[in-house]
Protein backbone atom coordinates (compact mmCIF):
# COMPACT_ATOMS: atom_id res chain seq x y z
CA UNK A 1 0.00 0.00 0.00
CA UNK A 2 1.43 3.38 -0.95
CA UNK A 3 1.32 6.40 1.29
CA UNK A 4 -1.04 8.28 -1.00
CA UNK A 5 -3.74 5.65 -0.55
CA UNK A 6 -4.11 6.49 3.13
CA UNK A 7 -6.78 9.10 2.58
CA UNK A 8 -9.01 10.32 5.34
CA UNK A 9 -12.37 10.40 3.58
CA UNK A 10 -14.11 11.96 6.54
CA UNK A 11 -11.95 15.04 6.44
CA UNK A 12 -14.07 18.10 5.81
CA UNK A 13 -12.31 20.03 3.05
CA UNK A 14 -13.43 23.59 2.45
CA UNK A 15 -12.70 25.49 -0.72
CA UNK A 16 -11.04 28.88 -0.32
CA UNK A 17 -10.94 31.12 -3.37
CA UNK A 18 -8.47 34.01 -3.47
CA UNK A 19 -8.47 36.48 -6.36
CA UNK A 20 -5.20 37.07 -8.19
CA UNK A 21 -4.95 40.01 -10.56
CA UNK A 22 -2.57 40.31 -13.49
CA UNK A 23 -1.75 43.99 -13.11
CA UNK A 24 -0.02 46.25 -15.61
CA UNK A 25 3.21 47.46 -14.00
CA UNK A 26 6.89 48.01 -14.65
CA UNK A 27 8.86 46.01 -12.12
CA UNK A 28 12.41 47.15 -11.48
CA UNK A 29 14.41 44.17 -10.17
CA UNK A 30 17.28 42.58 -12.08
CA UNK A 31 15.28 39.44 -12.83
CA UNK A 32 11.96 41.21 -13.48
CA UNK A 33 12.83 44.44 -15.24
CA UNK A 34 9.79 45.72 -17.13
CA UNK A 35 7.52 42.79 -16.29
CA UNK A 36 3.89 42.96 -15.22
CA UNK A 37 2.81 41.30 -12.01
CA UNK A 38 0.25 38.79 -10.77
CA UNK A 39 -0.62 40.13 -7.35
CA UNK A 40 -3.16 39.21 -4.72
CA UNK A 41 -5.18 41.75 -2.70
CA UNK A 42 -4.44 39.66 0.40
CA UNK A 43 -0.99 39.61 1.89
CA UNK A 44 0.16 36.29 3.34
CA UNK A 45 -0.63 37.53 6.86
CA UNK A 46 -4.18 38.49 5.90
CA UNK A 47 -4.63 35.17 4.14
CA UNK A 48 -3.46 33.32 7.25
CA UNK A 49 -5.84 35.31 9.43
CA UNK A 50 -8.69 34.37 7.10
CA UNK A 51 -7.77 30.69 7.31
CA UNK A 52 -7.16 30.62 11.08
CA UNK A 53 -10.38 28.76 11.93
CA UNK A 54 -10.37 26.39 8.95
CA UNK A 55 -9.78 22.69 9.60
CA UNK A 56 -8.34 21.62 6.24
CA UNK A 57 -8.79 23.46 3.01
CA UNK A 58 -8.13 23.66 -0.71
CA UNK A 59 -6.67 26.95 -1.90
CA UNK A 60 -7.83 28.08 -5.34
CA UNK A 61 -6.34 31.15 -6.93
CA UNK A 62 -8.79 32.92 -9.25
CA UNK A 63 -6.74 34.54 -12.00
CA UNK A 64 -8.08 37.73 -13.59
CA UNK A 65 -6.36 39.04 -16.71
CA UNK A 66 -7.00 42.30 -18.55
CA UNK A 67 -8.19 41.80 -22.15
CA UNK A 68 -5.14 41.37 -24.41
CA UNK A 69 -4.45 40.07 -27.92
CA UNK A 70 -2.32 37.23 -26.52
CA UNK A 71 -3.41 36.25 -23.01
CA UNK A 72 -1.19 34.22 -20.69
CA UNK A 73 -0.66 30.70 -22.00
CA UNK A 74 -1.04 27.46 -20.08
CA UNK A 75 2.61 27.29 -19.11
CA UNK A 76 2.70 30.85 -17.79
CA UNK A 77 -0.37 30.24 -15.64
CA UNK A 78 1.21 27.04 -14.33
CA UNK A 79 4.35 29.02 -13.55
CA UNK A 80 2.37 31.52 -11.46
CA UNK A 81 0.91 28.70 -9.39
CA UNK A 82 4.30 27.04 -8.94
CA UNK A 83 5.95 30.29 -7.91
CA UNK A 84 3.28 31.07 -5.31
CA UNK A 85 3.28 27.56 -3.93
CA UNK A 86 7.06 27.40 -3.74
CA UNK A 87 7.28 30.76 -1.95
CA UNK A 88 4.73 29.71 0.68
CA UNK A 89 6.22 26.26 1.16
CA UNK A 90 9.76 27.58 1.46
CA UNK A 91 8.59 30.07 4.07
CA UNK A 92 6.84 27.40 6.14
CA UNK A 93 9.82 25.06 5.78
CA UNK A 94 12.31 27.66 7.04
CA UNK A 95 10.07 28.53 9.97
CA UNK A 96 9.79 24.93 11.10
CA UNK A 97 13.49 24.21 10.53
CA UNK A 98 14.77 27.10 12.62
CA UNK A 99 12.14 26.46 15.27
CA UNK A 100 13.60 22.99 15.82
CA UNK A 101 16.88 24.59 16.89
CA UNK A 102 15.43 27.59 18.67
CA UNK A 103 13.19 25.47 20.87
CA UNK A 104 16.21 23.71 22.31
CA UNK A 105 18.02 26.97 22.96
CA UNK A 106 15.02 28.31 24.85
CA UNK A 107 14.94 25.12 26.90
CA UNK A 108 18.60 25.73 27.69
CA UNK A 109 17.60 29.02 29.23
CA UNK A 110 14.82 27.37 31.22
CA UNK A 111 17.41 25.16 32.91
CA UNK A 112 19.43 28.27 33.55
CA UNK A 113 16.34 29.70 35.21
CA UNK A 114 16.16 26.73 37.58
CA UNK A 115 19.79 27.37 38.50
CA UNK A 116 18.88 31.01 39.08
CA UNK A 117 16.09 30.12 41.49
CA UNK A 118 18.31 27.72 43.43
CA UNK A 119 20.98 30.37 43.61
CA UNK A 120 18.42 32.94 44.75
CA UNK A 121 17.25 30.69 47.59
CA UNK A 122 20.66 29.45 48.70
CA UNK A 123 22.99 32.46 48.59
CA UNK A 124 22.81 36.20 48.42
CA UNK A 125 25.14 36.49 45.41
CA UNK A 126 22.56 35.41 42.85
CA UNK A 127 23.15 37.96 40.11
CA UNK A 128 26.09 36.00 38.60
CA UNK A 129 23.57 33.87 36.77
CA UNK A 130 23.12 36.67 34.25
CA UNK A 131 26.69 36.13 33.13
CA UNK A 132 25.36 33.12 31.28
CA UNK A 133 23.70 33.83 27.96
CA UNK A 134 20.48 35.54 29.01
CA UNK A 135 19.67 36.17 25.34
CA UNK A 136 18.92 32.48 24.94
CA UNK A 137 15.53 33.21 26.49
CA UNK A 138 14.50 35.14 23.38
CA UNK A 139 16.23 33.04 20.71
CA UNK A 140 14.00 32.72 17.67
CA UNK A 141 11.04 34.25 19.47
CA UNK A 142 10.01 36.20 16.35
CA UNK A 143 9.99 32.98 14.34
CA UNK A 144 7.96 31.35 17.08
CA UNK A 145 5.38 34.10 16.79
CA UNK A 146 5.34 33.87 13.00
CA UNK A 147 4.93 30.13 13.19
CA UNK A 148 1.94 30.59 15.45
CA UNK A 149 0.42 33.01 12.95
CA UNK A 150 1.14 31.05 9.78
CA UNK A 151 0.84 27.43 10.90
CA UNK A 152 -2.73 27.31 9.56
CA UNK A 153 -1.24 27.38 6.05
CA UNK A 154 0.20 23.90 6.58
CA UNK A 155 -3.36 22.55 6.60
CA UNK A 156 -3.65 23.37 2.90
CA UNK A 157 -4.28 20.11 1.06
CA UNK A 158 -4.03 21.33 -2.50
CA UNK A 159 -3.48 24.53 -4.45
CA UNK A 160 -4.95 25.18 -7.87
CA UNK A 161 -5.41 28.05 -10.28
CA UNK A 162 -8.59 28.93 -12.19
CA UNK A 163 -9.75 31.57 -14.61
CA UNK A 164 -11.78 34.14 -12.66
CA UNK A 165 -15.46 34.40 -13.60
CA UNK A 166 -16.61 37.46 -11.68
CA UNK A 167 -17.67 40.11 -14.19
CA UNK A 168 -17.27 43.09 -11.86
CA UNK A 169 -13.64 42.22 -11.26
CA UNK A 170 -13.00 41.73 -14.97
CA UNK A 171 -14.60 45.07 -15.73
CA UNK A 172 -12.59 46.87 -13.06
CA UNK A 173 -9.37 45.29 -14.27
CA UNK A 174 -10.12 46.31 -17.87
CA UNK A 175 -10.64 49.91 -16.73
CA UNK A 176 -7.42 49.90 -14.72
CA UNK A 177 -5.56 48.47 -17.68
CA UNK A 178 -6.83 51.11 -20.08
CA UNK A 179 -5.91 53.82 -17.56
CA UNK A 180 -2.37 52.39 -17.45
CA UNK A 181 -2.15 52.64 -21.24
CA UNK A 182 -2.98 56.34 -20.99
CA UNK A 183 -0.03 57.01 -18.65
CA UNK A 184 3.38 58.11 -19.87
CA UNK A 185 5.48 54.92 -20.31
CA UNK A 186 8.45 56.38 -18.43
CA UNK A 187 6.49 57.78 -15.50
CA UNK A 188 8.32 57.02 -12.22
CA UNK A 189 5.22 57.77 -10.14
CA UNK A 190 2.92 55.39 -12.02
CA UNK A 191 2.17 53.22 -8.98
CA UNK A 192 0.89 56.22 -7.01
CA UNK A 193 -1.32 57.18 -9.94
CA UNK A 194 -2.70 53.67 -10.33
CA UNK A 195 -3.51 53.53 -6.61
CA UNK A 196 -5.15 56.95 -6.72
CA UNK A 197 -7.19 55.93 -9.77
CA UNK A 198 -8.41 52.73 -8.08
CA UNK A 199 -9.19 54.62 -4.90
CA UNK A 200 -11.32 57.11 -6.77
CA UNK A 201 -13.45 54.35 -8.26
CA UNK A 202 -13.94 52.29 -5.09
CA UNK A 203 -17.46 53.60 -4.47
CA UNK A 204 -18.91 52.36 -7.75
CA UNK A 205 -17.25 48.93 -7.81
CA UNK A 206 -15.76 47.13 -4.76
CA UNK A 207 -13.35 45.24 -7.04
CA UNK A 208 -11.34 48.46 -7.36
CA UNK A 209 -10.47 48.35 -3.67
CA UNK A 210 -9.04 44.85 -4.17
CA UNK A 211 -6.97 46.10 -7.07
CA UNK A 212 -5.80 49.05 -4.99
CA UNK A 213 -4.65 46.72 -2.21
CA UNK A 214 -2.87 44.50 -4.73
CA UNK A 215 -1.05 47.59 -6.04
CA UNK A 216 -0.18 48.63 -2.50
CA UNK A 217 1.47 45.25 -1.84
CA UNK A 218 3.37 45.69 -5.07
CA UNK A 219 4.51 49.17 -4.03
CA UNK A 220 5.72 47.82 -0.69
CA UNK A 221 7.59 45.04 -2.49
CA UNK A 222 9.21 47.50 -4.90
CA UNK A 223 10.39 49.71 -2.05
CA UNK A 224 11.92 46.85 -0.08
CA UNK A 225 15.17 45.13 -0.95
CA UNK A 226 14.80 41.92 -2.88
CA UNK A 227 14.33 38.67 -1.02
CA UNK A 228 17.83 37.40 -1.79
CA UNK A 229 19.46 40.71 -0.95
CA UNK A 230 17.71 40.68 2.42
CA UNK A 231 19.11 37.24 3.14
CA UNK A 232 22.71 37.91 2.09
CA UNK A 233 24.75 40.01 4.59
CA UNK A 234 26.05 42.40 1.94
CA UNK A 235 26.69 45.52 4.06
CA UNK A 236 29.65 45.80 6.41
CA UNK A 237 27.40 46.22 9.45
CA UNK A 238 25.44 43.08 8.54
CA UNK A 239 28.69 41.21 8.06
CA UNK A 240 29.99 42.25 11.50
CA UNK A 241 26.69 41.31 13.13
CA UNK A 242 26.57 37.97 11.34
CA UNK A 243 30.17 37.25 12.36
CA UNK A 244 29.73 37.90 16.08
CA UNK A 245 26.14 36.84 16.70
CA UNK A 246 25.76 34.74 13.58
CA UNK A 247 23.84 31.58 12.82
CA UNK A 248 25.58 29.81 15.69
CA UNK A 249 23.91 31.91 18.35
CA UNK A 250 21.03 33.79 16.81
CA UNK A 251 18.48 32.19 14.54
CA UNK A 252 18.27 34.07 11.21
CA UNK A 253 15.07 35.95 10.51
CA UNK A 254 12.62 34.28 8.15
CA UNK A 255 11.08 36.87 5.83
CA UNK A 256 7.40 36.76 4.92
CA UNK A 257 7.10 36.42 1.13
CA UNK A 258 4.97 38.71 -0.99
CA UNK A 259 2.24 37.09 -3.04
CA UNK A 260 3.45 38.76 -6.23
CA UNK A 261 4.74 36.91 -9.28
CA UNK A 262 6.28 38.69 -12.28
CA UNK A 263 4.47 37.79 -15.50
CA UNK A 264 4.72 38.71 -19.16
CA UNK A 265 3.98 42.26 -20.21
CA UNK A 266 0.73 41.59 -22.10
CA UNK A 267 1.12 44.71 -24.24
CA UNK A 268 4.56 43.62 -25.45
CA UNK A 269 5.01 42.22 -28.94
CA UNK A 270 8.48 41.56 -30.37
CA UNK A 271 7.43 43.26 -33.60
CA UNK A 272 6.75 46.58 -31.85
CA UNK A 273 10.09 48.08 -32.96
CA UNK A 274 11.89 47.76 -29.63
CA UNK A 275 14.45 45.36 -31.07
CA UNK A 276 15.33 47.75 -33.91
CA UNK A 277 15.70 50.52 -31.36
CA UNK A 278 18.14 48.43 -29.34
CA UNK A 279 20.09 47.55 -32.49
CA UNK A 280 20.47 51.24 -33.23
CA UNK A 281 21.62 51.87 -29.65
CA UNK A 282 24.18 49.10 -29.93
CA UNK A 283 25.60 50.43 -33.16
CA UNK A 284 25.78 53.94 -31.72
CA UNK A 285 27.57 52.59 -28.66
CA UNK A 286 30.06 50.62 -30.72
CA UNK A 287 30.80 53.64 -32.88
CA UNK A 288 31.27 55.76 -29.77
CA UNK A 289 33.82 53.44 -28.13
Amino acid sequence: MTKGSLVNWRKNLTEVKVPLYVLPARLSGWYEDGAWVASSPLSLGELARKLQKKEAFVLLWELYMPPAPSPLSEGEVAHILTALENAIEEFLYSLSFYEKLARNYRFMFSLCLVAYIIGLLSVNTWWFIWFRQPYLALTGIDNWWKRKRFSCLTRCEFQGILQGEDEKRQQALAEVSSFFQSLDPGDPEYLEKMIAFAKGKEKENPAFSEIRRAYEHLRKREREKSYFLKRIPHTSWAKVKRFFLGDLLLIPEVFVPFLCVPVRDLSFTPSSGILEEWDAQNRALQAFQ
Binding site: L27, F97, L275
Partner: protein, 259 residues
Protein backbone atom coordinates in the same frame (compact mmCIF):
# COMPACT_ATOMS: atom_id res chain seq x y z
CA UNK B 1 2.03 19.23 -5.12
CA UNK B 2 5.80 19.70 -5.49
CA UNK B 3 6.75 20.78 -8.98
CA UNK B 4 10.01 21.16 -10.85
CA UNK B 5 9.97 23.41 -13.88
CA UNK B 6 12.04 22.88 -16.99
CA UNK B 7 12.30 25.24 -19.93
CA UNK B 8 13.25 24.02 -23.36
CA UNK B 9 15.39 26.81 -24.81
CA UNK B 10 16.74 27.20 -28.30
CA UNK B 11 20.51 27.77 -28.18
CA UNK B 12 21.37 28.21 -31.87
CA UNK B 13 22.80 24.67 -32.13
CA UNK B 14 19.82 22.76 -30.83
CA UNK B 15 17.82 22.76 -27.61
CA UNK B 16 18.87 22.93 -24.00
CA UNK B 17 17.00 22.61 -20.73
CA UNK B 18 17.01 25.24 -18.02
CA UNK B 19 15.48 24.88 -14.60
CA UNK B 20 14.86 28.05 -12.55
CA UNK B 21 16.15 26.86 -9.20
CA UNK B 22 18.42 28.89 -7.01
CA UNK B 23 21.95 27.41 -6.87
CA UNK B 24 22.82 28.26 -3.28
CA UNK B 25 19.59 28.86 -1.36
CA UNK B 26 18.39 25.27 -1.14
CA UNK B 27 15.28 25.74 1.03
CA UNK B 28 12.91 25.66 -1.91
CA UNK B 29 14.13 22.25 -3.08
CA UNK B 30 14.37 20.82 0.43
CA UNK B 31 10.80 21.89 1.15
CA UNK B 32 9.70 20.04 -1.98
CA UNK B 33 11.47 16.84 -1.02
CA UNK B 34 10.05 17.02 2.48
CA UNK B 35 6.58 17.18 0.98
CA UNK B 36 7.36 14.18 -1.20
CA UNK B 37 8.42 12.34 1.93
CA UNK B 38 5.07 13.22 3.50
CA UNK B 39 3.31 11.51 0.60
CA UNK B 40 2.74 14.06 -2.16
CA UNK B 41 3.66 13.04 -5.73
CA UNK B 42 6.34 14.92 -7.70
CA UNK B 43 5.59 16.61 -11.01
CA UNK B 44 7.95 17.90 -13.66
CA UNK B 45 6.58 20.66 -15.88
CA UNK B 46 8.32 20.82 -19.22
CA UNK B 47 7.68 24.22 -20.79
CA UNK B 48 7.83 24.10 -24.58
CA UNK B 49 6.98 26.65 -27.22
CA UNK B 50 4.64 24.28 -29.05
CA UNK B 51 2.75 21.58 -27.27
CA UNK B 52 2.61 19.26 -30.22
CA UNK B 53 4.26 16.09 -29.09
CA UNK B 54 5.80 15.27 -32.46
CA UNK B 55 7.73 18.50 -32.46
CA UNK B 56 9.02 17.64 -29.02
CA UNK B 57 10.04 14.12 -29.89
CA UNK B 58 11.74 15.20 -33.11
CA UNK B 59 14.75 16.59 -31.28
CA UNK B 60 15.67 13.54 -29.28
CA UNK B 61 19.20 12.17 -29.63
CA UNK B 62 19.81 9.92 -32.61
CA UNK B 63 20.13 6.59 -30.84
CA UNK B 64 16.37 6.46 -30.63
CA UNK B 65 16.35 6.00 -34.39
CA UNK B 66 18.11 3.64 -36.75
CA UNK B 67 18.97 4.44 -40.35
CA UNK B 68 18.87 1.38 -42.63
CA UNK B 69 19.43 0.72 -46.28
CA UNK B 70 16.35 -0.12 -48.30
CA UNK B 71 15.96 -1.17 -51.92
CA UNK B 72 14.89 2.36 -52.82
CA UNK B 73 17.17 4.27 -50.46
CA UNK B 74 17.53 4.94 -46.75
CA UNK B 75 14.76 4.41 -44.19
CA UNK B 76 14.54 5.59 -40.61
CA UNK B 77 13.35 2.94 -38.17
CA UNK B 78 12.36 3.96 -34.63
CA UNK B 79 14.08 1.69 -32.13
CA UNK B 80 12.02 2.51 -29.08
CA UNK B 81 8.31 2.89 -28.45
CA UNK B 82 7.05 6.28 -27.16
CA UNK B 83 6.51 4.63 -23.78
CA UNK B 84 10.16 3.59 -23.65
CA UNK B 85 11.23 7.06 -24.65
CA UNK B 86 9.25 8.58 -21.79
CA UNK B 87 10.85 6.11 -19.39
CA UNK B 88 14.22 7.14 -20.77
CA UNK B 89 13.37 10.79 -20.09
CA UNK B 90 12.37 10.03 -16.53
CA UNK B 91 15.71 8.32 -15.97
CA UNK B 92 17.45 11.34 -17.44
CA UNK B 93 15.69 13.65 -14.96
CA UNK B 94 16.63 11.37 -12.14
CA UNK B 95 20.27 11.40 -13.25
CA UNK B 96 20.47 15.19 -13.40
CA UNK B 97 18.17 16.61 -10.72
CA UNK B 98 18.71 13.84 -8.27
CA UNK B 99 22.49 13.95 -8.50
CA UNK B 100 22.64 17.69 -8.14
CA UNK B 101 20.24 17.80 -5.24
CA UNK B 102 21.85 14.90 -3.42
CA UNK B 103 25.16 16.79 -3.56
CA UNK B 104 23.53 19.98 -2.31
CA UNK B 105 21.80 18.08 0.47
CA UNK B 106 25.04 16.49 1.67
CA UNK B 107 26.77 19.87 1.62
CA UNK B 108 24.13 21.46 3.80
CA UNK B 109 23.80 18.49 6.08
CA UNK B 110 27.50 18.54 6.85
CA UNK B 111 27.58 22.29 7.20
CA UNK B 112 24.92 22.15 9.89
CA UNK B 113 26.49 19.14 11.56
CA UNK B 114 29.79 21.00 11.70
CA UNK B 115 28.16 23.84 13.58
CA UNK B 116 26.19 21.69 15.99
CA UNK B 117 28.04 18.43 16.60
CA UNK B 118 29.22 18.43 20.18
CA UNK B 119 29.44 22.19 20.40
CA UNK B 120 29.53 22.19 24.19
CA UNK B 121 31.51 18.97 24.52
CA UNK B 122 35.25 19.41 24.72
CA UNK B 123 37.07 16.19 23.96
CA UNK B 124 40.71 15.18 24.44
CA UNK B 125 43.11 15.95 27.30
CA UNK B 126 42.64 19.72 27.15
CA UNK B 127 38.96 19.08 26.74
CA UNK B 128 38.95 17.38 30.12
CA UNK B 129 40.63 20.42 31.60
CA UNK B 130 38.01 22.65 29.98
CA UNK B 131 35.20 20.51 31.27
CA UNK B 132 36.57 20.77 34.75
CA UNK B 133 36.92 24.53 34.51
CA UNK B 134 33.72 25.26 36.49
CA UNK B 135 35.32 23.44 39.42
CA UNK B 136 37.40 26.57 39.89
CA UNK B 137 34.24 28.39 40.84
CA UNK B 138 32.95 25.55 42.98
CA UNK B 139 36.20 25.19 44.92
CA UNK B 140 36.50 28.91 45.32
CA UNK B 141 34.22 28.65 48.31
CA UNK B 142 31.10 30.27 46.96
CA UNK B 143 28.42 27.56 46.86
CA UNK B 144 26.12 29.77 44.82
CA UNK B 145 28.13 29.12 41.69
CA UNK B 146 27.28 25.44 41.84
CA UNK B 147 23.93 25.47 39.99
CA UNK B 148 25.48 27.40 37.12
CA UNK B 149 28.44 25.05 36.97
CA UNK B 150 26.26 21.94 36.85
CA UNK B 151 24.09 23.58 34.24
CA UNK B 152 27.17 24.10 32.09
CA UNK B 153 28.44 20.57 32.65
CA UNK B 154 25.16 18.68 32.16
CA UNK B 155 22.53 20.99 30.71
CA UNK B 156 24.30 22.55 27.75
CA UNK B 157 25.72 19.38 26.16
CA UNK B 158 22.37 17.68 26.61
CA UNK B 159 20.41 20.32 24.71
CA UNK B 160 23.07 20.75 22.09
CA UNK B 161 23.00 17.00 21.46
CA UNK B 162 19.25 17.23 21.03
CA UNK B 163 19.88 19.90 18.42
CA UNK B 164 22.20 17.55 16.60
CA UNK B 165 19.63 14.77 16.67
CA UNK B 166 16.90 17.08 15.39
CA UNK B 167 19.13 18.09 12.50
CA UNK B 168 20.09 14.56 11.53
CA UNK B 169 16.45 13.46 11.65
CA UNK B 170 15.44 16.41 9.51
CA UNK B 171 18.05 15.78 6.84
CA UNK B 172 17.30 12.07 6.86
CA UNK B 173 13.65 12.81 6.04
CA UNK B 174 14.71 15.06 3.16
CA UNK B 175 17.05 12.47 1.70
CA UNK B 176 14.33 9.83 1.88
CA UNK B 177 12.03 12.26 0.08
CA UNK B 178 14.71 12.82 -2.54
CA UNK B 179 15.00 9.11 -3.16
CA UNK B 180 11.27 8.76 -3.47
CA UNK B 181 10.72 11.84 -5.63
CA UNK B 182 12.10 10.40 -8.83
CA UNK B 183 10.70 6.89 -8.50
CA UNK B 184 7.16 8.08 -9.15
CA UNK B 185 7.22 11.26 -11.16
CA UNK B 186 4.68 12.73 -13.57
CA UNK B 187 5.91 14.59 -16.62
CA UNK B 188 3.62 17.32 -17.95
CA UNK B 189 4.25 19.23 -21.13
CA UNK B 190 2.82 22.74 -21.23
CA UNK B 191 2.91 25.40 -23.89
CA UNK B 192 4.50 28.71 -22.94
CA UNK B 193 4.08 31.66 -25.28
CA UNK B 194 6.70 33.80 -23.49
CA UNK B 195 9.21 31.04 -24.18
CA UNK B 196 8.17 31.06 -27.82
CA UNK B 197 8.93 34.79 -28.06
CA UNK B 198 12.43 34.27 -26.65
CA UNK B 199 13.19 31.24 -28.80
CA UNK B 200 12.03 33.13 -31.88
CA UNK B 201 14.36 36.01 -31.04
CA UNK B 202 17.33 33.64 -30.70
CA UNK B 203 16.31 31.83 -33.88
CA UNK B 204 16.11 35.11 -35.78
CA UNK B 205 19.58 36.04 -34.46
CA UNK B 206 19.65 39.63 -35.73
CA UNK B 207 23.24 40.84 -36.33
CA UNK B 208 24.43 37.61 -34.74
CA UNK B 209 23.25 38.96 -31.37
CA UNK B 210 20.25 36.76 -30.61
CA UNK B 211 21.29 35.96 -27.06
CA UNK B 212 21.78 39.62 -26.11
CA UNK B 213 18.35 40.51 -27.37
CA UNK B 214 16.74 37.53 -25.67
CA UNK B 215 18.57 38.57 -22.51
CA UNK B 216 17.02 42.02 -22.71
CA UNK B 217 13.53 40.76 -23.44
CA UNK B 218 13.55 37.85 -20.95
CA UNK B 219 12.61 39.84 -17.87
CA UNK B 220 9.91 41.75 -19.73
CA UNK B 221 8.12 38.55 -20.74
CA UNK B 222 8.20 37.34 -17.16
CA UNK B 223 11.00 34.81 -17.55
CA UNK B 224 13.70 36.91 -15.90
CA UNK B 225 15.40 33.86 -14.42
CA UNK B 226 16.47 32.93 -17.96
CA UNK B 227 18.90 35.85 -17.78
CA UNK B 228 21.14 33.43 -15.90
CA UNK B 229 21.27 31.38 -19.09
CA UNK B 230 21.37 34.13 -21.71
CA UNK B 231 24.08 36.25 -20.09
CA UNK B 232 26.81 33.55 -20.10
CA UNK B 233 25.61 32.48 -23.55
CA UNK B 234 26.10 35.93 -25.00
CA UNK B 235 29.46 36.43 -23.29
CA UNK B 236 30.72 33.10 -24.58
CA UNK B 237 29.48 33.13 -28.16
CA UNK B 238 28.66 36.66 -29.33
CA UNK B 239 30.30 40.04 -29.71
CA UNK B 240 28.82 42.31 -27.10
CA UNK B 241 28.16 46.01 -27.40
CA UNK B 242 31.07 46.69 -25.01
CA UNK B 243 33.96 46.16 -27.42
CA UNK B 244 35.92 48.60 -25.25
CA UNK B 245 36.64 45.90 -22.71
CA UNK B 246 37.81 43.28 -25.19
CA UNK B 247 41.47 42.31 -24.81
CA UNK B 248 43.66 40.03 -26.93
CA UNK B 249 44.06 36.66 -25.22
CA UNK B 250 47.11 36.22 -22.98
CA UNK B 251 49.49 33.74 -24.72
CA UNK B 252 49.90 30.46 -22.88
CA UNK B 253 53.58 30.19 -23.89
CA UNK B 254 55.77 33.16 -24.90
CA UNK B 255 56.90 31.55 -28.19
CA UNK B 256 54.86 30.60 -31.22
CA UNK B 257 53.31 27.15 -30.81
CA UNK B 258 53.15 26.04 -34.43
CA UNK B 259 54.67 27.35 -37.66
Amino acid sequence: MPRIELYKLFNKQGYTMFSPRHPFFPEERFAQYLRVFKGEPMEIFLHVEDSKKEEYLAHLPSDFLEVARDSQGYVVIPRKSPQEILEYLKNAFSDTFRKEDALLLETWRHRDFFYHYGRFRFRGFYGVLHRLFPIVFIMHGIPGFQPMAWDMIIGDPYFEDRNFLELSKHYQMISWGLEEAFTNVTLRIVENSALRILNDIVRQDRNGEGFVQAFRVASRVGLGFLRDFFWPATQATEHTEWTKFLRPPVPFVPWKESP
